[in-house]
Symmetry: C2
Subunit: 335 residues, 2 copies
Amino acid sequence: MSQSPNRQWRLARRPVGMVSETDFEYREEPLPQIGDGQALVRNLYVSFDPAMRGWMEDRKSYIPPVGIGEVMRAGCVAQVLESKAPGLAPGDFVQGLFGWQEYAVAGPGLGAATKIPPGTPLTWPLGVLGITGLTAYFGLLDLGKPKPGETVLVSGAAGATGSVVAQIAKRVIGCRVVGIAGGREKCAWLTGELGFDAAINYKDADWRDQLRRACPGGIDIDFENVGGEIMNTVMAEMNLHGRVVLCGLISEYNASKRMLGPYDTILMKRLTVSGFIILDYAPRFTEAVMQLGQWMMQGKLRHVDTIVEGLDAAPEALNMLFDGENRGKLLIKVS
Amino acid sequence: MSQSPNRQWRLARRPVGMVSETDFEYREEPLPQIGDGQALVRNLYVSFDPAMRGWMEDRKSYIPPVGIGEVMRAGCVAQVLESKAPGLAPGDFVQGLFGWQEYAVAGPGLGAATKIPPGTPLTWPLGVLGITGLTAYFGLLDLGKPKPGETVLVSGAAGATGSVVAQIAKRVIGCRVVGIAGGREKCAWLTGELGFDAAINYKDADWRDQLRRACPGGIDIDFENVGGEIMNTVMAEMNLHGRVVLCGLISEYNASKRMLGPYDTILMKRLTVSGFIILDYAPRFTEAVMQLGQWMMQGKLRHVDTIVEGLDAAPEALNMLFDGENRGKLLIKVS
């Protein structure tokens, strides 16, 4: 077995803004010893993902932050060198959260190893068949609910998730797919090699006009990776009953003072926010009136109203609603 | 037939902020003549609803704005005086958008009349059995998807919609129901007569603390009628996978300069915004990986990556994601 040291990056402090090398400590440690149920693996590929920036923040989130002094967390593909774990043999290829280091101990918990089926190209489990591809798959299909012919807008379109979202939307579902990315060359690559119907370079001064021209029928699904000004512009072009899959807000991850705005809360808590106007339910009004009437008869519901006399008071009555002067339904009795 | 004039309020100009009488023109007109298919009705009750303030704005919305010079639109309960319409006879009680006037011509279009079943108390079709009750019914049940024991927060809780939402949530579904309203007396009425588990007076200086104490297990459903600072505070207390039914933003309807913020767009366009973190889908990863792999084999999906050599570059690689320097998945090849 190799006696080379284990080179690794440990988180040295909480970064502010973009990370710098001084936010990490570069260390060379002796190779770790493994115990029962563990395996020593050697990293081949380390995955980089915008979410990793969030893992460095000391705040409540969907997984615990990386602790100061800990090896920086990252998904990896590795090869087993030595094993005391059932089912893992030297030579096996595995994936797991082995972190920014050359060697790691795979074991229970966050460092658990999953075997990669023989024959799989070694980078796929970190891309299309990994968290990135899964994110595209469930986000687009389960939450976006795309239908053939709908327009799907993907921000961060050249990224790992965006590029898979676009391909599924285009080639599997049959949507019109428009991407937003930074740079002309990148946009040409999106429309050329990846088959996007249009790609908007947000560095162009007129990118908002380009977006509107590229989506003449509006946008049905926004697969949102970026947030901020790009998201605001896209939102304005959404069609009625559109779906926004809030997957990432990468424009905000490096803000030195994080604006914990509404979208951040919606994302982190996986909330569903539904705009609602009752007229959309008109075909089901009869069903509801019958049920409501029944609840009234059963005493589960009370009709509550505030009645003002005389049509003269109409303008005043309207303002009462905003001053909160009514209880229940506000009515004018005309005569 | 009565020869009294038809007293009415017509919209005279677009109001700014709260309405005043001078935004309307008070007119006395001769009684309208009816044609074939029409009926003359006399208004008994006129409904007032916060959404009416929005109908006065000259902007694209879910129904056309009230035109300058037109009778102000409103839902009404009326009695038929004279009829040349099939199915309507003098004496019938009807409801329809007859507006701020004593007499109206019921006919096709926005002024269509719907007969009220005999025996129905005349105010119910404008309240629990009307748009208000329907809004509570579909908004809470279809979008909020309440389960017994969940905590439902209702803002504008003493209003027509809020008070029905709370009753359905509490007495039909069996939720814990917390309301936000303005005024101590009103809050006492909510917990007393309407059976809310707790009611928060947002005029109290410590209302945010009261809210947190009233929702020790967080909030599962926010039935949002108010928006602004109240909504922001509620959002911070939402539980994972909570649902926000965005039904109204009454705190903003009278703003002299409307902030067309994200929630306004979500409401008006009935968007669904879903926060999304892939770990929630872990139980279905295998299904997705198999499907993704199949699409790869069929050539529908391409794996795209950008590979950087050497672990030394790790901090730099992370920043590449935010500079947009990668195409597809960004990986470091360790050795």
